[in-house]
Symmetry: C2
Subunit: 352 residues, 2 copies
DNA sequence: CATTTTTGCACAATCGATGGTGCAATGAAT
DNA sequence: ATTCATTGCACCATCGATTGTGCAAAAATG
């Protein structure tokens, strides 16, 4: 039977029931009672009543009074790809292990939405915030600073708050080199057969492009601007770019550096329009790891960013009392084709 | 320059500045001022002061007073796969469009964690909750009912709250039939060559198994218990199951119905251990859509659940004042191999 | 037994916003 | 000019917890 939504018990209810004052009840229930010299027996009684009546603290009230909430936020650009969803997963585990409540929100790469969202979080007195892949980290910072909210950037650095990012330059070098070396000597790749698609004008893309070009020049003695096609972080724009290229050249470049799995989805859309023959000889390097992407019918080399490492580092930084504004580089990992890595889900017990 | 975290302006500050009372300021700033017959000019003045001083309401205080929070929650089993991350993405868009704040949390398929998490959300006076793929929806329901929280189940039904799920029976029939028909007449699949892997003892798995068996008997005149291998929702257990099968039979079944993309990842892990030759003739049907999964080197047929449809329906139900406890079936969609569908990300503008 | 110390708790202000109620000033109606 | 209705706003209790302070009663000390 549905019992009517009986309103929740408060410390005042328990106060009456136990014969103690509200403040005593509060102290018992929030752990500060030793300090307040509450008798063990009083505490025991109150605790018993509390779970008899299923008391749970009203966290809004607590938050209002103490201007803390027990919430830790993660601001994401989007949910729907494996990079960010893994990040959310790791993040939650970390926050939970500290006994706090993780809340994940996305802001669609929109600077205004980013700021508005953070303002909302602040209005709930979120205690800490990880800002991942923000389009305008410094804008977010300004909002945070105004209210003293601890925050760390991840994935894309800001200039005013500590940042933890992966070493995109090194990663791009590794990935590019792996693409090049994947071709045997007799089918060697030329500088104008290796293209970079995707990304936009953000720190990560710039670094990756820098790494791509550097190693390309070192190993191939060549590179040109036409080998770089930034398409934004959208499957659709990437698809269009591939289509255009294909129309122009009659084929895709044999070597493809794809900036982010989101853009890789653009290649999928292209693939859906063309027979497999168009792909027999290509080698793709994707900056970002997706387990299914790793097993496509052509060689796909991927970079897996060390999400767990970045999250860990971010929380370490937030634990400091006066963290210095600097950018920490975390090394990413090269993932050869046909590799199924473990992820944060593996940490979860599943009773078969 | 870092201005010191000057504490945020409150209605009291604005009250002093404007010469009006706090309640007037409050009314102006929360929109109820017309009703309270505040003069237009007074309102204008207050509004100007408000954004001069960057006033934003303390939502904990508001929530405490009004016992509403403006938060809408989505409880997920896990973040890290495309099905649930798409769900999060759609959910956020819906909630945002209503001017509320979406918050997404996962509970790792752990009934206790589910209940604890919902209790936490309730402590923050979350206004509405979508419970997706909960292991124990009725347990969650009990917690919600205790505090009058509106909620709807998605993906896995409960018996005490309205539920929106996809038609798993029909979906499984479609998928199974598509697998069978994918084989040409000369290579026809036998009943003992078509296996179902993955899932566990939940409503969705049961329905899918029922659909799988029904159509199998109709089209193949055969089915047996050994063709069903529930492995739980874990890549690892699924991998182990595949390995065992392979060891026993020297090959994989030619027809594979895989229950959820999470289990499909188990197949990836298996694949990483074995040469591509082990897969040349298999056809996989996966209940859940993953764009990369669709392009693997063997035919992969997928079922895409109508996430957008389910979310929409869920919100419609929550908008009713006395929703009836029933289960709504949403039709899923069969996705042929090599198909790149659009997703919730496509709704996001990206300034290239 | 008188005094000091310790124990155990109650009191009350406070966090920031909301909304019911009441009342003065203004304008309209008679 | 008196009465009545309307306008415009202030007052105050309230939501549920936290925390500094104060004060009896009990215990320790002399």
């Amino acid at each position: 039977m549905e019992h009517l939504p009986k309103k929740k018990a408060t410390i005042y209810d328990l106060s009456v029931l136990s014969g103690s004052s509200p403040s005593t009840v509060s102290a018992v229930l929030n752990g500060s009672w030793r300090k307040r010299r509450i008798k063990e027996s009083t505490a025991a009684l109150i605790r018993e009543l509390a779970d008899q009546h299923q008391y749970t603290a009203n966290l809004q009230a607590r938050g209002l009074r103490s201007s803390r909430s027990g919430l830790v936020g993660l601001l994401l650009p989007v949910h729907d790809n494996r990079y960010f969803s893994s990040m959310a997963q790791s993040f939650e585990a970390h926050v939970r292990s500290r006994g706090l409540c993780p809340i994940v929100v996305s802001a669609c790469r929109d600077p205004d939405e980013e700021r508005r969202t953070v303002e909302t979080l602040i209005s709930y007195s979120v205690d800490e915030l990880i800002v991942a892949g923000a389009t305008d980290p410094d804008g977010v910072h300004a909002v945070c600073i105004g209210s003293g909210l601890k925050h760390v950037n991840i994935d894309l650095p800001g200039s005013r708050a500590p940042s933890v990012i992966s070493d995109n330059y090194q990663g791009a070098r590794m990935l590019t080199e792996a693409i090049i070396r994947h071709f045997s000597d007799d089918l060697k790749l030329g500088p104008d057969e290796l293209y970079l698609f995707g990304g936009r004008d953000d720190h990560a893309s710039r670094e990756r492009i820098r790494g791509f070009r550097a190693i390309k020049r070192e190993l191939m003695q060549g590179d040109s601007d036409k080998c770089i096609e930034p398409t934004g972080y959208s499957p659709n724009m990437a698809q269009v770019a591939f289509e255009r290229f294909y129309e122009r050249e009659g084929k895709l470049p044999r070597g493809l550096f794809i900036n982010s799995s989101i853009n890789f989805e653009g290649l999928l859309r292209f693939m859906a329009q063309h027979p497999n023959e168009a792909f027999v000889d290509i080698v793709v390097g994707c900056y970002d790891y997706d387990p299914f992407g790793s097993f496509l019918p052509f060689p796909v080399i991927m970079i897996r960013q060390d999400i767990e490492g970045m999250i860990t580092k971010a929380f370490e930084i937030m634990a400091e009392n006066r963290p210095s504004v600097q950018t920490y580089l975390i090394q990413p990992e090269l993932v050869p084709p046909r590799t199924a890595l473990k992820g944060p889900l593996d940490a979860i017990k599943d009773i078969a």
